[in-house]
Symmetry: C2
Subunit: 354 residues, 2 copies
């Protein structure tokens, strides 16, 4: 048996995405997420994520998001959310890594980035939600919050609807202004217009909210009319006490959570009782014919982050790395020649390098 761990670095990841092409990579993640959501729910084990939340040394959290599909590996993302990262350390708010553990033996099979992949899979999950809840002729997209997540939301949406125009707001005008250039480097071009929130909301077919609002700062808007069929991807980073939309607005919409338990703890669904919440995304994906009517209603996808989507992103990336012969294979676990003697590693020639 292979006892080394496949470590995929960022240069391996870059090589993978460049070889496949960013659009195709995103398409693979989108369809991988659809496939995994379609599976029998009894085959998927996804405990609500847990973690440490703190205010020192800086406000933030580190959470673990485990999942297991069928008899497959345990995939666990460890992810940090530290809003002061860009300011203090010039690194993204969300940093993470995803590890894959073989369930035959407990061996760590592989480890891969969870920062780029979180951004990609969060976009991809919104694309899946949009593809089942929005009108298929949606053309105008709104974006409230123009940070890192906005880039991947727009890119992912562009793979499932034909975007003609994007209306953007960010409380930091510099961030809003730079979104077009960031989209350009990513290779997709969409006309972007900066607007105030109250001008954006009434005029868009699909809206993404991807802000880093502080607890109690929301909602982003209230008493603003919308198109009757507006679909919202409420995908801002989630936190107990943080919400982007008002309870009144949610009550007038069909609210579909990605993971009910998690959404009730950290998402927009914090504001709703169980019977005010619609079905989870996987139900809509499994029975699209039954939910076709949602396309003409106002819908909100309450995206708190799906461990299953991390599973998809990590599995696809590691498979490409293997096929392209990218990454390093390192012997991290101390596996002695005599499995009954932990100290044998001190005298053995490591058998794992055979």
């Amino acid at each position: 048996m292979l006892t080394t761990t496949h470590v995929v670095t960022v240069s391996d990841l870059r090589e993978i995405v460049l070889q496949i092409g960013l659009d195709s990579f995103m398409d693979e993640i989108i369809s991988g997420i659809k496939d995994i959501l379609r599976l029998d729910p009894l085959k998927k084990k996804v405990p609500a994520r847990d973690g440490f939340h703190y205010h020192k040394p800086y406000p933030g959290l580190v959470e673990w998001m485990p999942s297991r599909v069928g008899d497959g590996p345990v995939v666990i993302k460890l992810v940090g959310y530290h809003p002061q990262n860009p300011k203090h350390f010039d690194v993204p708010t969300i940093l993470g890594t995803i590890s894959v553990y073989d369930t035959k033996t407990g061996h760590l099979e592989g480890i891969v980035d969870g920062t780029f992949l979180t951004a990609v899979r969060t976009g991809a999950t919104s694309a899946v939600a949009t593809s089942v809840m929005a009108r298929q002729d949606s053309r105008i997209v709104g974006m409230i919050g123009a940070g890192a997540q906005a880039v991947t939301q727009l890119h992912a949406l562009s793979r499932v609807i034909d975007i003609e125009q994007v209306l953007v707001f960010d409380k930091n005008p510099m961030v809003a202004a730079s979104l077009a250039a960031r989209c350009h480097t990513a290779g997709f071009e969409v006309p972007i217009t900066l607007m105030e929130i109250d001008e954006i909301v009434p005029n868009v077919d699909v809206l993404c909210t991807v802000t880093s609002l502080d607890i109690g700062e929301g909602p982003l808007f209230s008493n603003v009319p919308t198109k009757p069929s507006l679909h919202i991807n409420a995908a801002g980073a989630d936190f107990p006490g943080k919400t982007e939309l008002s309870r009144a607005f949610l009550l007038d919409s069909y609210v579909c959570p990605d993971h009910r338990e998690q959404a009730r703890q950290q998402g927009e669904c914090q504001q709703l009782s169980d019977d005010e919440i619609g079905e989870d995304l996987d139900v809509l994906v499994r029975h699209p014919e039954k939910y076709e009517h949602l396309r003409s209603q106002r819908t909100v996808f309450d995206s708190t982050g799906l461990a299953l989507a991390d599973d998809v992103a990590a599995t696809i990336t590691l498979r490409h790395a293997r096929e392209m012969n990218l990454g390093s294979f390192l012997q991290i676990e101390a596996i002695p020649a005599d499995s009954m003697n932990p100290y044998a590693i001190l005298t053995d020639v490591q058998k794992a390098v055979r």
Copy 2:
């Protein structure tokens, strides 16, 4: 800021332990565990571990054991327990890896083996428990179960008491017979005598139970007399439903768990109500004078596995690796030059390698 991850392989680990010496390495872990247990409990966050338990493809579990001390990093061990590993794959029952996440940013600072280190820290924790609960003139040690954990239990105990004789039982006579040779390769020599359980129990000062009993197979013995001051380290791998000692035996002993909540779910304490359980190990370590009388009583240390001990073992190992310039520094997280643009990693020269 450093954005690479310090990956310590088994050859790095071997080099560290050989340079320091196995005895000194064990002593460092033992005193590190004592130090961390002495800290103000409010400074330590250790949720009970959680995980996936399954019967396919083989019976086993993968669990995550997170901890955080003060404003320090989040240390998380992912550990598998698969009793058929030695038979099917010639690898240890317990395989694991320990990861350290910086809580300023969420960055994965380092990753290191959790197999050797689990064995060492489990031994070290028993040594700590023995040093506060057993008679200091204990000379005769019993060992029920002679597998991988027996080696490190004996080694660790030899660092806190003067062992004159070891009485050993394993249901597999080959395993029992090879323990002496395994201890020899580890560099410590103790006269080992194979015996039946009922002969061992009455004659020892300190007993370690480190079996892989199946659920419902226990207890290991009943109605066997013991020395009045016997101290037991019940350190077999733990599982809901699995116990090594009988409820009657526990009721006649002072039972000290390593982590009350976990012990009530998975340890010997499953058989006890809260008021039948003594103080946790950290209380005894913080107030040794108050618990001096336990040395003359029958005591049981219910060892289910302390995430804090993993924290100590990983932190010490990573510190030595840094000081000895061992290990690889790999850029796993995809940190773009523009923290607002995840896709910048595709075009950037990676800024993290500066």
